[in-house]
Symmetry: C2
Subunit: 316 residues, 2 copies
């Protein structure tokens, strides 16, 4: 007799867990469709070279990879973003542009299991591809807001930031070439605190104590959106990139507010850095007021160059 068991980090869903999961997926689909997003699907298994093309060394290590019967190096998808970039590059001539897609599917990560982290889980992605317009960023915030309302949440906050704000400050501090390790350290602020972030930046990005202090001052800004924007204007003075980022944030906050989203639900948070390399503009994280411990439950941002791995066409 074979012992019936599942692999560590993998789960069975019994009806009492599966019924609400089906309802959640239906709700996400309904909200996405109401904004004109269309469904796509891509294979779970792809050529390794495609999946390890972008992301980070850390994500590469977590890929379930193997050699198939035909001797090809293949892997299970780690997220839905890199497959989306591959998909768009491959099919762009068959797709409307901008292309608004949603993709609700399983992803796999061979990472160490810990509370609330699984090796197999579902993502409910949506993206707008092929437009540099800030309207897409505004719409993204509205979709997140509607999605959480439709799921029955009232007490949540969408935290927004803009990579250009951070990049602008790094430019001023002459640290642009070390952006990746610095952003990764900032991303851990809630977990390891300001001293931890400073120590990590000093050790992994060789910044000085003074530079670390300047960065921490920026990412520790608190207050109303207006107060933060005013402070950011001052801190990014002299950096074209930084000023552009602040301008985009200001426009986003104004538009989303005008659309009826209360300020309590959309807040600028300069500490939101998003560890992945590929983000270029607005970034988002969403927190449930009543479950702060679980971290962001809906994250993403603008990445204007990812399809560049697969095609020369510019598809922001």
């Amino acid at each position: 007799m074979i012992q019936p068991r599942t692999l560590k980090g993998f789960r069975d869903f019994l009806p009492e867990a599966m019924l609400p999961r089906e309802r959640l997926i239906d709700t996400a689909r309904r909200v996405y469709r109401s904004y004109g997003y269309s469904p796509i699907d891509t294979p779970a298994l792809e050529y390794l070279e495609i999946l390890s093309g972008k992301g980070s060394d850390e994500t590469d290590k977590q890929l379930y990879r193997f050699r198939d019967h035909g001797g090809r190096d293949v892997a299970l998808r780690f997220d839905l973003t890199v497959p989306a970039a591959r998909f768009t590059a491959q099919h762009i001539n068959e797709l409307p542009v901008p292309f608004k897609r949603y993709h609700i599917a399983t992803v796999w990560r061979g990472e160490n299991t810990q509370r609330g982290r699984y090796r197999e889980f579902m993502q409910c992605d949506f993206d707008t591809i092929g437009t540099a317009s800030p309207a897409a960023d505004i719409e993204t915030a509205l979709v997140i807001h509607d999605l959480f309302r439709a799921l029955g949440f009232e007490r949540f906050v969408i935290r927004v930031n803009n990579r250009r704000v951070l990049n602008g400050l790094l430019e001023k501090l002459d640290l642009s070439d070390r952006a990746v390790p610095i952003l990764r350290a900032i991303d851990k602020l809630a977990k390891i605190g300001p001293e931890g972030v400073a120590a990590e930046m000093i050790s992994t990005a060789q910044v000085s104590q003074q530079q670390a202090d300047d960065i921490l001052k920026l990412v520790s800004l608190e207050g109303t959106n207006d107060a933060i924007l005013a402070e950011l204007d001052r801190l990014t003075e002299g950096s074209e990139t930084g000023r552009q980022g602040v301008g985009e944030l200001r426009d986003l906050i104004a538009a989303v507010g005008a659309a009826g989203v209360p300020e309590a639900r959309i807040q600028i948070d300069v500490a939101i850095a998003r560890g992945l390399d590929y983000y270029t503009g607005t970034i988002y994280e969403t927190f449930l007021d009543d479950l702060p411990g679980i971290g962001s439950v809906c994250s993403g941002g603008r990445y204007d160059n990812l399809t560049g791995l697969f095609t020369k066409q510019v598809l922001p």
Copy 2:
């Protein structure tokens, strides 16, 4: 730049293919739920020993298997039936019995690609577990019928048979020990014709030409359900197993007819053998009148012993 491409046998779904696919899944779910089936899900990746526990050598060869980071032998699920047996054995104390489950999910088979066969595809399974009652077999036929009507089909036929009819004849011919290769040969009747089946049975199961002729006579029966039943009564005379199978078929046809399914849509077909070893009673295949070339689009049957791989509890 990386060439954007998918693996052979794997597909991207663009919105024009994905929208009807989402509708199909919704329809299946609605029909299954209307009969009281509940959703479950199981991991895509399982211990190899669990997935290769049953099925056949042929299915084992098609498993995508590899060793994970922790050195475990794992594989992508080949179907949803073996995982269902593992799931039921593992969770039986948390489940109502009989347990009626549906499971709509992706499966992977590393087989040679050919027209209409993919290495990744979706199955829309449903099963009743934990009852030997013929009512479950009748309900299964009604669910298949309602599902195809709900999908918009009018011209289709559910072909039914019973393993006990075939086993009864093999008993009479003293061939019970060679049932597996014989059933596998019969299953190819539509593809390779009676001479092909006879040749295969003679070579793989060492049956005599006379035995082959007797088997082919049985599986070539044609006519109305009543005419076939009368003929089956005669051919299985003297075999308790065979007579039980014919009785179950007769009751099934009567009940499904009484429920309003026209005879054109439910037909006894003794040539339906279902290659897999684990079937024990009623078996089903469904054909679309307007697309005969694609073969059965909804197949299955009763298997009373599959959970026996994983538990001593009897869960038919």
